[in-house]
């Protein structure tokens, strides 16, 4: 029975997150953030626990959870690279940039590399249109992407 302790452990850690944030007004999204911070993603089995605690239905929590792309269904890689695909960046060639990045890292959008180094995601506007095409690595924004910058990014990821 190896699985048993794991799921009770998830329940306990989720309960701790909930009790810390439950008193907020509109606590569902903060709790989902808290759970993601705790586990690195939002494990499916935490959703009914959250629903029960907030007196919501499973459906409602599922609806909110799936609405926001930033809530993860699976653990991310050690690094997270988000490449902007919104209008301004598209007009500055972000499609081609994304293709190069995908090739370099060997993964597509919403995928994590086999070695667990990196997760690649599209993002729709970083507010960095003046420096398009733009991306964000682990929360740090990078402007004016080109082949050199992509190499640098890859280097950092694999270092």
């Amino acid at each position: 029975m190896v699985l048993q302790p794991a799921s009770t452990e998830i329940a306990a850690r989720t309960a701790a997150v909930i009790s810390e944030l439950k008193s907020l007004e509109g606590p569902l999204i903060p709790i989902l953030h808290g759970v993601q911070e705790e586990f690195g993603y939002v494990p499916q089995e935490t959703l009914p626990i959250i629903a029960e605690a907030l007196n919501l239905s499973r459906a409602e929590v599922h609806g909110v959870f799936t609405f926001y792309h930033d809530f993860r269904h699976h653990p991310a890689g050690r690094h997270v690279l988000k490449v902007c695909q919104a209008e301004a960046c598209q007009s500055m060639g972000s499609d081609a940039i994304a293709a190069q990045i995908k090739q370099k890292l060997g993964i597509g959008f919403h995928e994590t590399s086999k070695d667990g180094d990196v997760t690649l995601e599209p993002i729709y506007c970083l507010g960095l249109c003046a420096c398009a095409p733009a991306a964000m690595l682990d929360g740090e924004v990078i402007g004016r992407l080109d082949a050199d910058k992509i190499d640098e990014i890859a280097e950092e990821i694999h270092s």
Partner: protein
């Protein structure tokens, strides 16, 4: 006939009294303030195109089809979300609007299958209608792009496509046809209050999801069908429509399940029922329904239904099918023989709470006029007879004080011993809606029911009492109200007997009735009792809703009196939002009681000993009625065992399964010489019957049902009786066979006789019901249009009467041998003894009775979830499977009584209410232990049942 088309106004009606006048397309229209432009326009007869709006749910403004132009305003606001303003000038059809609408429709259709001709919604599809309405001729975007329609795009798997979900037995979910209007999601939230549906994802990826991307059957869905009704396309469709096709005519009738009494349109194709759709003008349900009413009608055509009369001289013999004449002749002869041989009082009958008022009236008339005694009783004996006694004593009438609409003005709801979410689901939805709007809730129940805590519902106080201690709790609440000075002195002085109040106040003020004392008896913390009492007394309009958890106790009548006292103490009676409301179990149990089904009462609750009352019937029926009350059901059975009661006519009730102490019931039945059962199926009681008269369903006859709010609703025939006769005709033929000169041509003539002889029904007639839709008794010259709320200016009996409520513990006590308390109840998908619902697809949700047991109690007995367990009481034992849950407290176990092979009533004892003999189903001391399978009794019973269901000339009887 034709199909009844209800107008969809798009958004709910506004309740404002202030009127606003505006102009729509050049026509002036005046509507209440707060009305949407869409609704105002529809009032003026102009239908604005729409997809996401429907008047059962609030406006949403997502489909962008209902846009309008308003003079002096910019843009094209959506008419569903824009409220009317005085003097507003609205245009619903301009060049700009036409272009926008066409463009929107093109987008919808570019991601929608074009299989209209073979689609189940063909002829009933709003998307199709709107394509027509906006003049869609061409889709500029084509159909080749990203879509949810095809499983594969050019041979490549389409991840956006989802397979059809057919898991629900009654409807299908086909995501490829969904336009994501959210009507289903909103219906589930706003109308039903379950919140089982959501929109998952966002943008083009948005999809309707039951639960967390689950199958409908595995999700939180309770299958009420509100989503199916709300869906504008074929995305959510009744399987019956898929199978049969669209209906062509419809008839408004009344549901034959619980005491809510929902109005439905029975939508027909020829004489085949296509679907039941709740009727928006139905005043009890306001367009909503539950899984039973909407979907569970399959029993009417179930293969086990018996369609031919049968007789047998001996219950060990197989049944012999005979003609109606022979069966009725035989019955009449037997009853006459028995009366000749054993005396006039040796026969009796039981009226049915599932049959119509008219049928019930005839059965009691047959007994009083034809049998010449008062040996008539009804199943209310085993459910709400204490309500009749308790409310009769305190208020002067035996019925709920409110209509269901009243809940919309309730600030505090107190639920005692009832689980409306399971047993009265449509009322529960209406109550939940009010709770979400801010009303508070107190629940007194040993179990943590859905009303205590479920999505968006949380009771302020849950008094999880030990079964059997209702009186202690209710009296302790009165103690708090009196000693803390929370009572309404003005109301009591005006409306009640002051000296009786003083006596009651003195009685409850004694510290032995304090919450602290009640805590010791009930296990409910004193502070919780105090909190509940304070909230009930001071929280605004407070209404009490109660069920069989109140009545089915040795002190059932006392609790009802205590409840009546609470409402009088706090002045919560005689206006909207308050009152005392028994939630009646069966569709017409209120009506059966009204129609004189009790051995001591003539129709309208008039005691049989009253000379003036008897005189009315004596002269009309040409007989001399017996002035002595007759036998109650338990007395009939006792007398049968003693050998003095030999024949019984049972219409539509299964006493062997539903009444307590099964062994005693079967012994009583076995001792009789002529047991006549009139029913749809060979029920459990029929195992002991000598004559079986096939019954008709509510779809096959005209009549009326009276629901828990005293509302007399019409039942209309939608198909010919498969058994040949409606139940009232069968009773009439039996009466004729016994030599009575009855000659009713239509149930309306029976109702006329009721109206003529019963003051509270004086103005009721079919013609009047046709005009009014429905009416709540009393309906006479004092209340010409009926009485939605009772006791408005004074109690029916004059002054409200306070009666002392002394707590006396039941004799059914736990001890070392039987340490647990068993209590019983119902589940949403099944109804009563299950004779109907077990013969529908509802078994998908509840295929067997389960024993709920707390983890602590399970652990000390070494039981695991799903184990077979033996359930023993002093009366008997049975076996069933256990489910481990903390919904029940330690020391308490719970089960349902829907399945005959469990026979929960083998366990229940013959203790009963002191005033009315209502059995104490809700408290039985039991022991639970591990078991390997069915008990000896269950095996013998099954054997006997199989033997007794044999029909000569047929292979093994079904079931």
């Amino acid at each position: 006939m034709g199909l009844i088309q209800e107008i969809d106004f798009g958004t709910p009606a506004s309740k404002s009294e202030k009127q606003v006048t505006l102009t729509v397309d050049g026509f002036e229209v005046t509507v209440p303030e707060g009305t949407s432009i869409m609704r105002a326009s529809m009032e003026a007869g102009i239908a604005i195109p729409k997809l996401c709006a429907t008047d059962m749910v609030d406006a949403f403004g997502s489909c962008r089809l209902c846009l309008v132009e308003i003079e002096g305003r910019n843009g094209t606001p959506s008419s569903c979300t824009t409220p009317v303003m005085p003097g507003m000038v609205v245009h619903t059809q301009t060049g700009r609007l036409k272009d926008i609408r066409k463009g929107v429709m093109e987008l919808y259709i570019s991601d929608h299958p074009l299989d209209c001709l073979t689609c189940a919604a063909n002829g009933d599809c709003e998307l199709q209608d709107m394509a027509g309405a906006v003049g869609l001729r061409d889709v500029r975007y084509g159909y080749e792009g990203d879509n949810h329609v095809r499983a594969k795009n050019n041979g490549v798997e389409n991840f956006k496509w989802m397979a059809k979900d057919e898991s629900n037995p009654y409807f299908t979910y086909d995501p490829s046809k969904c336009i994501v209007c959210s009507r289903c999601v909103r219906a589930c939230e706003e109308v039903q209050g379950t919140f089982a549906l959501t929109i998952e994802g966002r943008g083009f990826g948005s999809r309707v999801s039951p639960g967390a991307h689950e199958l409908f059957l595995d999700s939180e869905c309770v299958s009420c069908g509100a989503c199916v009704q709300a869906c504008p396309t074929a995305t959510l469709t009744e399987k019956s429509v898929i199978q049969i096709g669209q209906p062509e005519h419809s008839v408004v009738t009344t549901c034959a399940y619980c005491g809510v009494g929902c109005s439905f349109k029975a939508e027909m194709r020829g004489d085949e029922l296509v679907r039941m759709v709740p009727w928006k003008d139905g005043k009890a349900n306001r367009g909503h329904s539950c899984v039973k009413g909407r979907f569970a009608y399959g029993y009417a055509t179930h293969k086990e239904r018996i369609l031919n009369p049968m007789i047998r001289e001996n219950i060990a013999d197989p049944w012999r099918e005979v003609s109606w004449e022979e069966a009725l002749e035989y019955t009449a002869k037997e009853f006459r023989r028995i009366q000749y041989q054993y005396g006039r009082g040796a026969v009796g009958g039981i009226t049915s709470s599932r049959c119509t008022n008219e049928e019930t009236f005839l059965v009691q008339k047959l007994i009083r006029q034809g049998f010449g005694n008062n040996n008539v009783d009804t199943c209310a004996r085993v459910c709400h007879s204490p309500t009749g006694y308790g409310l009769g004593q305190t208020y002067g009438t035996s019925a709920g004080t409110q209509d269901f609409d009243s809940v919309e003005d309730t600030d505090v709801a107190l639920i005692i011993g009832a689980n409306p979410a399971s047993a009265h689901p449509v009322f529960a939805s209406r109550l939940k809606k009010r709770l979400r709007a801010g009303a508070k809730l107190i629940v007194i129940d040993p179990r943590r029911t859905e009303m205590v805590k479920s999505a968006h519902i949380e009771a302020e106080h849950h008094l999880a009492l030990k079964p059997g201690t209702n009186v202690a709790i209710v009296t302790a609440m009165a103690h708090v109200i009196v000693t803390e000075g929370l009572f309404d002195e003005k109301f009591i002085r005006e409306r009640c007997d002051w000296s009786e109040f003083q006596d009651y106040a003195e009685f409850v003020s004694d510290p032995q009735y304090s919450p602290e004392a009640a805590e010791k008896l009930s296990g409910v913390p004193a502070e919780t009792i105090r909190g509940a009492a304070r909230l009930y007394a001071t929280g605004g309009n407070a209404a009490i809703y109660y069920g069989l958890g109140v009545t089915e106790h040795s002190q059932g009548s006392t609790t009802v009196i205590g409840i009546a006292n609470l409402a009088m103490l706090t002045g919560n009676i005689g206006r909207r939002g308050v009152g005392v409301n028994p939630l009646r179990g069966q569709n017409n149990v209120q009506g059966a009681c009204d129609m004189g089904s009790f051995p001591h009462e003539l129709p309208g609750y008039r005691h049989i000993s009253g000379d003036a009352v008897r005189e009315i019937y004596d002269s009309l029926w040409g007989v001399k009625l017996d002035d002595e009350p007759g036998l109650r059901i338990p007395n009939m059975l006792d007398a049968a065992v003693d050998g003095t009661f030999k024949g019984i006519y049972i219409q539509g009730e299964d006493i062997l399964q539903s009444d307590p102490d099964t062994k005693h019931v079967s012994a009583g039945l076995a001792a009789m010489e002529c047991v006549v059962v009139q029913d749809l199926f060979l029920n459990e009681t029929a195992n002991y019957a000598h004559v079986f008269l096939p019954g008709s369903t509510f779809l096959e006859k005209d009549g009326t049902f009276t629901n828990a709010e005293r509302r007399i609703n019409r039942v209309r025939k939608v198909m010919a009786p498969k058994n040949g006769y409606a139940d009232w005709e069968v009773t009439q033929k039996l009466a004729q066979a016994m030599g009575l000169n009855w000659n009713y041509q239509h149930p309306s003539e029976i109702m006329d006789e009721v109206a003529k002889t019963t003051p509270s029904f004086a103005n009721v007639s079919y013609e009047f019901l046709e005009k009014m839709g429905s009416v709540q008794w009393p309906c006479n010259d004092k209340a010409p249009e009926g009485t939605p709320i009772m006791h408005i200016d004074g109690f029916v009996r004059g002054k409200g009467k306070f009666i002392r409520t002394e707590y006396v513990a039941t004799d059914e006590k736990t001890g070392p041998r039987f340490p647990l308390l068993l209590t019983t109840g119902r589940i949403l998908s099944q109804y009563n003894v299950g004779a109907q619902t077990r013969r529908t697809e509802n078994v998908a949700w509840h295929a067997e009775d389960l024993l709920e047991i707390h983890p602590h109690d399970a652990e000390v007995r070494g039981l695991r979830d799903g184990d077979w367990v033996r359930l023993q009481s002093r009366a008997g034992e049975t076996t069933l499977r256990a489910t481990i849950t903390d919904k029940v407290s330690p020391g308490v176990v719970y089960t349902t009584f829907h399945h005959p092979d469990t026979q929960a009533n083998v366990i229940t004892t013959d203790f009963s209410d002191w005033a009315t003999n209502c059995p104490e189903y809700k408290v039985t001391a039991v022991q639970v232990g591990a078991s390997n399978g069915p008990s000896e009794w269950q095996k013998e019973y099954t054997e006997q049942a199989q033997q007794s269901r044999r029909i000569a000339g047929q292979l093994e009887a079904a079931e």
